[in-house]
């Protein structure tokens, strides 16, 4: 397993004038890109800038409409992921494709040719994983592994093909800061062997830290190629967004208001074998506060949202209180009527129905809270389309939602614009309590700053805001209080200005003996 350096001068991979059309829409428009041997190359861009389309073409998932891909100076046609692997391109996707019920070695063997024996795969995988500082037990079941460990399986799986170019799609979005540091060491080792890495990220600090060069995309075109170390985060962001990104002015209210949202010893068993159980979660959010819950993906954030929103109510009424009234056993509609608003993590098919127009998606969240305004005909429940459309227009204008046409299908909006609409839909009714899971997940920088400012402003106006997020930058921007969730347990909350990234990182790893002691003491 030794990497072969490409001939000097010509880059390992060159992309010339690559274009991908979907109908008349150019997802990638005349892209030029060079990746040299032994460099870590960043691909930057907002959501919808064409990063994934470009990468899918490089990995043979999509066929380019026109343009050329040159591998070591020769034009190649990459027809399938298999073909990409054969010429030496490996890829680690953002969303893993692993079978949870199988072991690590079995999962790896699935992607290899059928003839190789399982024990040989296990041996090779464990050798590689130690070589690259990615310790893995080949006989462990995937279901028992953390997200970081699962990512290692994907990386080892890619390394087994002895690739010269490894593509990583947003690899650190699921890692703790400490886990990310280890990944960076692995990347440095790969680089020292002469392998190249194409690193897709929107985290500018990371890119500056580990990448040798960066290519920035915007609206399907290359807007800049630079050495990220010579740039500032602000200048990189400008290349991505095309304008300066407004910085969020933090909440910083000093007056402590009433507790508007409270969870008391909230315990929820896991609904499925692979879900996380919530264990004795206690939290309080006061009027004027933004409590941010940090944590690595898959530690119970979704389950906590489900229990707090009432999508899955719990038995104990006092486990969740909204504005001082017990609501644990009540459904989401009742909790909305008590003054709470909710923004789930997944936009498509949870917070919004993509095939339905925006106005219908407004009714989705507010059919009961705004029953008097939106519905006519008493029990018949006739939807007053005209009224709903006016409200929908108001929300779009307030949140600066960019869309084609007056009332397009939710699915036709970009991720950021749809998220602005979904957040705006709740803000529009001035909820006393707002619970948001991953408010700016996969959202471009411009929209993210707008959404964060809106959350901060809502708290300033006297509401209680709970933000569940994996993005530490975001958390420090919006939070007045911070708590960390790990394996379904929630730490105490600390004032935001008392915490550092390192402390949060430790809490994320589940090291909070002190906290557990305090919880036990509080009983």
């Amino acid at each position: 397993m030794s990497a072969v350096g490409a001939s000097e001068g010509s880059p390992l991979l060159a992309v010339r004038n690559l274009t991908k059309l979907f109908g008349s829409f150019a997802a990638c428009n005349g892209i030029d890109l060079d990746i040299k041997s032994g460099e870590i190359h960043a691909l930057l861009g907002e959501n919808g800038a064409g990063k994934s389309t470009l990468v899918k073409m490089l990995f043979g998932v999509l066929a380019p409409t026109s343009g050329q891909i040159l591998w070591k100076g020769e034009a190649v046609r990459i027809a399938s992921p298999g073909a990409a692997r054969r010429i030496g391109i490996g890829m680690v996707f953002q969303h893993f494709s692993l079978f949870e019920a199988l072991t690590v070695a079995e999962n790896i063997a699935l992607s290899l040719s059928p003839g190789i024996s399982l024990s040989k795969v296990a041996e090779e995988a464990s050798r590689l994983s130690h070589l690259y500082g990615l310790p893995l037990d080949p006989n462990a079941h995937v279901a028992d592994l953390s997200v970081g460990e699962r990512q290692r399986i994907e990386i080892v799986r890619a390394l087994l093909q002895n690739p010269e170019l490894i593509i990583l799609d947003e690899p650190t979005s699921v890692l703790t800061p400490q886990e990310a540091d280890r990944l960076f060491e692995t990347l440095a080792k790969l680089k020292s062997e002469g392998r190249s890495v194409l690193y897709i990220s929107h985290r500018l600090e990371e890119v500056q830290r580990i990448c040798d060069r960066a290519t920035v995309l915007r609206h399907g075109k290359v807007t800049g190629a630079c050495d990220p170390r010579k740039e500032t985060p602000a200048s990189l962001a400008r290349m991505m967004v095309g304008s300066d990104v407004a910085s969020v002015s933090a909440a910083g209210t000093n007056t402590k208001g009433d507790v508007l949202l409270e969870a008391r010893h909230l315990t929820v068993p896991s609904r499925t074998p692979f879900a996380v159980a919530l264990k004795n979660v206690c939290l309080k959010v006061r009027s004027g506060e933004v409590l941010a819950i940090a944590g690595v993906a898959g530690n119970g954030q979704g389950e906590l949202f489900d229990a707090l929103s009432g999508e899955y109510p719990v038995v104990d009424p006092t486990a969740v209180s909204i504005r001082g009234k017990a609501a644990g056993n009540l459904g989401i509609t009742a909790r909305r009527l008590m003054g709470a608003g909710f923004v789930p993590e997944e936009r498509h098919g949870h917070a919004a129905v993509t095939t339905l127009p925006l106005s219908d998606n407004l009714v989705l969240a507010r059919s009961q809270s705004d029953r008097k305004t939106f519905l006519a005909g008493g029990l018949l429940g006739i939807i007053r389309q005209a009224v709903v459309r006016i409200a929908s227009k108001r929300i779009s204008e307030t949140m600066d939602v960019r869309k084609s046409g007056e009332n397009p299908a939710a699915g036709s909006l970009s991720g950021g614009n749809l998220q602005k609409y979904i957040v705006g839909r709740e803000l529009d009714r001035q909820p006393a309590v707002l619970i948001v899971n991953q408010p700016t997940w996969g959202v471009d920088a411009g929209a993210a700053s707008r959404i964060r400012q809106a959350l901060v402003d809502l708290a300033k106006s006297g509401s209680a805001v709970l933000v569940i997020s994996q993005d530490l930058d975001e958390i420090f921007e919006v939070a007045t209080e911070i708590a960390v969730i790990s394996e379904g347990r929630l730490s105490d909350s600390y004032p935001a200005h008392d915490l550092t990234r390192e402390k949060i990182g430790l809490l994320m790893g589940g090291m909070y003996g002190k906290t557990e002691g305090e919880v036990a003491h509080a009983h």
Binding site: R85, P114, G349, L356, D360, A365
Partner: protein, 364 residues
Amino acid sequence: MRIELEKRANPSTLYSIVSPFLALALTVVAGGIMFALLGKDPGAALYSFFIEPLLDVWSLHEIAIKAAPLILIGAGLSVCYRSNNWNIGAEGQFIAGAIAGSIVPVVFHEWHSSLVLPLMLIFGMIGGALYAAIPAFLKAHMNTNEILTSLMLVYIAQLFLDWLVRGPWRSPDAYNFPVTRDFAPEAILPELISSGRANLGFALAIVAAVGLWIMMRYTLKGFEITVLGQSERAGRFAGFSSKRMIWFSMLLSGGLAGLAGIAEVSGTIGKLQPVISPGYGFTAIIVAFLGRLNPLGIIAAGLFLALTYVGGEAVQLTLSVSDKVTRVFQGLLLFFVLSCDTLIQYKIRLVFARLGQSNEGGAH
């Protein structure tokens, strides 16, 4: 080599409107070929299948009679299918409704009152709804696949009806024929107009279809049905319960199928007999999809499918071909409707990959 369906980025709106008509045209062409293979003149055969029935008052009445159950059932099924509940057992609910509705005229045949008919219709609806409640309960509380349970219950209903008319409900005056006693005049659904046999069932069907159309288009209930059909998770977020929707949609479609059953028995047959339906409950599935799961479209589709029944009888008489021709036409039609819809959403791609030879065989 393998064939892949690749989702089209921008499916043509024009084609999705034209699709049912395209399917009709293809059905007619394929039917013409079938008649030619049978040694009949395709032109004449298609004429007597599709055109002749429209030129005659008697057969127009027959079309209305056959369209009524198709529209009633199809409209109910469209609500079910839109909410992502797959009731395939409307045929069984049709029979259950017919049996329940016949309790009054068969068991209490000595009671004469103007209340008999309304009671029969209500019992019919309840019977169909209760029969659909079985798969609804199994799906909502046992997580059972409603496609299988509702379909299997069809055979139970058919055999139960058979037993009933040969056993406890057999008429004492029918010389041992397996039928119930004839319904009294006040138990017969009246004719719509004086020129023929078409009865009030057709009016009921139109009212039900228009009512459901209004519900789907203008009300929160219709919105709830659409949302839960598209995404259960989004429905939960909206505060809608998918369990309650299983009950609602199954009881609604079952009730309408039951109403169709009692209307058919009361209006057209006048008694119960071992076989009361030429497969209306199954044909209504075609009607629902040909009508694009839109109750107004279903009125048109129901009339057209009724034409295939009447036309099938016509060619049987004039050209002496098998009555299975009707089934073939209905099958062709469903096939073409679904294929047209699929090809509008997806394009076919032939992939000439050397699977197995490559050492990446199972990689993706």
